[in-house]
């Protein structure tokens, strides 16, 4: 190929192999763009002539995975081994398309020792079976890393006890209930349609067959309802399962007496239909996102082992065995697993996981480095100060306050309504009994049981899972992933919203920096870098990062003027960096637009000696449209901004968001959590929107904790919802949909009450025939299901959440 052109990769570029649109910048190789490493590897393999040696992509640091040779580590990672063949599973977040599956399932071609590899795409998991005599765990992991699929091996991969067996019982229950429901329906049809002309003997056969078929429905499929009703009553809570359980029991008993006494065919078809629909509702509600984990703690993020140095020899130590005083060696891109003091090396610690801010912090020997930072650059040595479980951040997770303790008891809508509903039904039943007893004792039994049968709150129980389940799916399509339907309901009642600043309102990525004015020489650039290096102002830090690597000069007479800028002397020249008024602008530099609320661009002006040289333009540190989001949220909610930074930014934030937004600075992780708790004590329902480990406590404490992340597959702390950063500005729409969904539930409660009124009008007269029940009950269930799903979808469409 003689012709080569520069590819400008835009977001609309398609992958050269699979044709999917690129996710981000993609991977550029050989002048072509690929969506993922899988496509690139497949492309190469197909392109090469047949026998394909594994193309080496990313050479692995020689000792990076040395710890995987440790027998104790291998033992803990391995799921199964007979001494010869072993099985391991990994999570591989980089899996992106079907090419990845192809490459990962053809590992055996690249390593003879790998016998089988199976991918579970949605979970981004791979199970590998390998021959220990031909390869090793370390080689397998190195092969994966070489291909661009570095598995996530963390403390969690070994700390988790054996994974619980998958819960398939709901599928079993639905299958059996569906089977019984269908057959009971068929066997009941002759009775309904013939108008009583069915042969008496046949009728007997049908009725008893129905009775047999209903046994698994009552004694297996619906056991969950009896259990949770009993559990609720024991705790003194009258939940929605109580009237359901009573209803199922009464229908069954009435039907048994009817059939045995020969009085009628019973209501078994209604009963099994009811259970079947309820179980379907449960299935619909149980929408899960396979690749997301809402329970992550620091263990899913800290490494499994680190290199330690003891009397001059290096070895691998599991992180859980680290003790104060141990000397750790942390290499490029490794995470510091415990609070430690820096002993030697150039430490540039990236705390993006902790603060959500992608900025490296320089440390000098003697400095304390908190656990969770990632070293960027050469190897450093540190002395462990505290054990992993006692670290500054990890302690937050270990606090008893949220070590698996249940949330505040939120009364769900359905439970609250079911109380009044049941009371109403009992009153009607009592009145019916009072009316009938003096007249006809036998009819009284019929009428009272009929009342209880027809008033079973099936529709009530179905409205919540289908309305909130639909909302959950709509949110999922908009990259707002909620843990469960209860979170949707809580979302509807949020009164206070607490926002983290860094990484939540701001974009974590380093913003683009350009210089406007007389171009600077390299020498001048390095002078600017040397000066701004001394400042902790985020603009300085961003500017500094855009300028390095450059040789740094010593700075004298360094001065920092709040709300103005910084000043210093380098090699005899006075240098000013800061606002327009402080540093001044060259006369020809166009209109005097300063970094104001209306621009997303921040400007840093530079002056050498007496000569203004122009400004650096730092684009969009804040997410687009964040100001209007805050304004929209403020119309319905109390919005509070919490920041871990010092308050130098207060004037800028006040200008940006207006004076009504309460701002709190210098909030430690523990402060943020206490802040949320304080609001809750005053009766507020809180939502915390944050990211990073430093918000973990507040996310846990809040009624709804929303973790904002740029990459859904990346780490996020334990929370109730995960939101992709770009969708944050739709938060007000999400909240509105949650509120609308709750209104839909209330409307369907009204529909259900209407049906019940019709049913009761038959029942109190003792005229509820099995046919009427068999029509009325499924019809009411179907209406409620259809109404809730369609209504929520329609509202979502109107709000632009569905197309």
């Amino acid at each position: 190929m003689g012709f080569q052109e520069d590819h400008v990769i835009s977001s609309t570029t398609l992958c050269a192999h699979c044709g999917d649109p690129l996710n981000g910048p993609g991977i550029i190789h050989d002048g072509k763009a690929f969506c993922c490493n899988g496509c690139r590897v497949v492309y190469e393999i197909l392109g090469s002539t047949g026998n394909c040696p594994a193309p080496v992509v990313q050479p692995v640091d020689t000792d990076r995975f040395a710890y995987l040779d440790e027998p104790t580590v291998v033992e803990r990672l391995r799921e199964f081994s007979d001494g010869h063949v072993s099985t391991v599973s990994f999570l591989i977040p980089q899996m992106y398309c079907s090419s990845c599956v192809w490459v990962l399932e053809h590992l055996y071609r690249m390593d003879q020792g790998i016998l089988l590899s199976r991918v579970e795409f949605l979970k981004k998991a791979i199970a590998i079976r390998y021959d220990e005599t031909k390869t090793s765990l370390r080689k397998v992991v190195e092969l994966l890393t070489t291909l661009g699929y570095e598995p996530r091996i963390t403390l969690e991969s070994v700390d988790r006890s054996a994974p619980p067996p998958p819960d398939r019982s709901l599928y079993y229950r639905i299958g059996i209930a569906g089977f019984c429901f269908g057959n009971i329906m068929i066997l009941s049809f002759p009775e309904y349609l013939s108008g009583g002309t069915v042969d008496a003997q046949l009728r007997h056969v049908f009725a008893y067959l129905n009775l047999i078929l209903s046994l698994p429905v009552v004694f297996y499929c619906s056991t969950g309802y009896f259990q949770s009703a009993a559990g609720g009553l024991r705790k003194g809570i009258f939940n929605i399962e109580v009237p359901i359980a009573i209803g199922i029991a009464i229908v069954f008993l009435r039907s048994v007496t009817d059939i045995v006494s020969g009085a009628g065919p019973g209501f078994l078809d209604s009963l099994s239909g009811l259970v079947f629909f309820l179980l379907l509702g449960r299935l619909f509600q149980n929408k899960t996102y396979d690749s997301l984990n809402f329970e992550r703690s620091y263990t899913s993020y800290f490494p499994l082992a680190v290199t330690t140095r003891h009397r001059g020899t290096e070895r691998t130590t599991p992180v859980s065995d680290l003790h104060p005083g141990d000397r750790m060696v942390i290499r490029n891109n490794e995470i510091v697993p415990a609070d430690a003091v820096l002993i030697g090396g150039d430490a540039a610690i990236d705390y993006s996981f902790v603060t959500g801010e992608s900025r490296t912090v320089q440390k000098v020997p003697g400095d304390l480095v908190h656990a969770g930072g990632r070293q960027v650059g050469g190897a450093i040595e540190l002395d462990v100060v505290t054990e992993v479980s006692q670290g500054y951040l990890t302690r937050l997770w270990n606090e008893a306050a949220f070590a698996g303790t249940p949330r505040r008891g939120l009364t769900t809508l359905a439970n609250a309504v079911s109380k009044y509903f049941s009371a109403g039904v009992l009153i009607v039943a009592a009145c019916t009994a009072l009316y009938w007893f003096p007249r006809d004792a036998a009819s009284a039994f019929d009428a009272v049981t009929s009342v209880l049968i027809v008033a079973c709150p099936c529709a009530l129980a179905l409205a919540t899972p289908f309305a909130f389940g639909t909302a959950l799916r709509v949110f999922g399509r908009n990259k707002f992933y909620l843990r469960n339907t209860a979170a949707v309901e809580t979302l509807a009642g949020i009164s206070t919203i607490l926002l983290d600043k860094t990484g939540t309102l701001t974009r974590p990525s380093t913003s683009a920096v350009r210089f406007v004015g007389t171009p600077l020489t390299d020498n001048q650039r390095s002078m600017v870098a040397s000066l701004v290096r001394n400042s902790h102002h985020p603009l300085s830090r961003t500017l500094y990062e855009s300028l390095i690597p450059l040789p740094l000069r010593p700075v004298q007479h360094y001065r920092e003027l709040p709300n103005a800028g910084i000043e210093g002397e380098i090699e005899g020249a006075t240098l000013r960096v800061g606002s327009r008024t402080f540093a001044g602008a060259p006369t020809e530099s166009g209109p005097a637009v300063d970094s104001g609320a209306d621009t997303t661009e921040a400007r840093v002006y530079v002056r050498f000696g007496a000569e203004p040289r122009g400004h650096f333009a730092l684009a969009g540190a804040y997410r687009d449209g964040i100001e209007s989001l805050v304004t929209r949220l403020q119309t319905r909610h109390d919005v509070v901004l919490l920041s871990g930074d010092s308050d130098w930014e207060r004037p800028q934030l006040e200008r940006r968001f207006g004076p009504q937004l309460p701002l709190y600075f210098e909030q430690t992780p523990a402060d943020k959590k206490a802040f949320v708790a304080g609001y809750q004590q005053r009766g507020a329902t809180t939502m915390m929107v944050g990211d990073g480990l430093n918000d973990a406590g507040a996310l846990q404490q809040a009624d709804v904790g929303v973790a904002v992340t740029e990459n859904i597959a990346a780490f996020s702390p334990a929370c109730d919802a995960i939101l992709e950063g770009s969708r944050l500005t739709r938060m007000d729409t999400f909240l509105a949909l949650a509120r609308s969904s709750r209104r839909v539930v209330l409307w369907s409660f009204a529909i259900s009450v209407l049906y019940n009124a019709v049913g009761l009008s038959f029942a109190v007269r003792g005229a509820l025939s099995p046919v009427v029940a068999a029509i009325l009950m499924p019809v009411s269930s179907v209406t409620v299901v259809a109404f809730t799903t369609l209504a929520v979808q329609m509202i979502a469409r109107r709000r632009g959440l569905l197309s």
Binding site: S98, V101, W102, E105, Y108, R109, Q112, L115, V119, E120, F121, L122, K123, P166, R168, Y171, Y172, G175, I176, F179, G182, N183, L187, D199, Q201, L202, V205, L209
Partner: protein
């Protein structure tokens, strides 16, 4: 009349067979991963190396 009862027995047997098939499918993990098999079917599974024992290469 008894014909209906016999038919009923057969139909139940048939339906129970389908139920058993469903339960087996759930049990054998077919509902565990509903996505990857749909990708896997697109791969050309010609195995050219020593692991190959079943499919003859043409």
């Amino acid at each position: 009349m008894s014909v209906i009862v016999v038919l009923l027995g057969f139909s139940m047997l048939l339906a129970a067979g389908f139920l058993a098939a469903f339960l087996w499918a759930v049990r054998s993990g077919q509902y565990k991963d509903k996505h990857t098999p749909s990708l896997r079917i697109l791969f050309d599974n010609k195995r050219r190396d020593s692991h190959d024992s079943s499919s003859p290469t043409s």
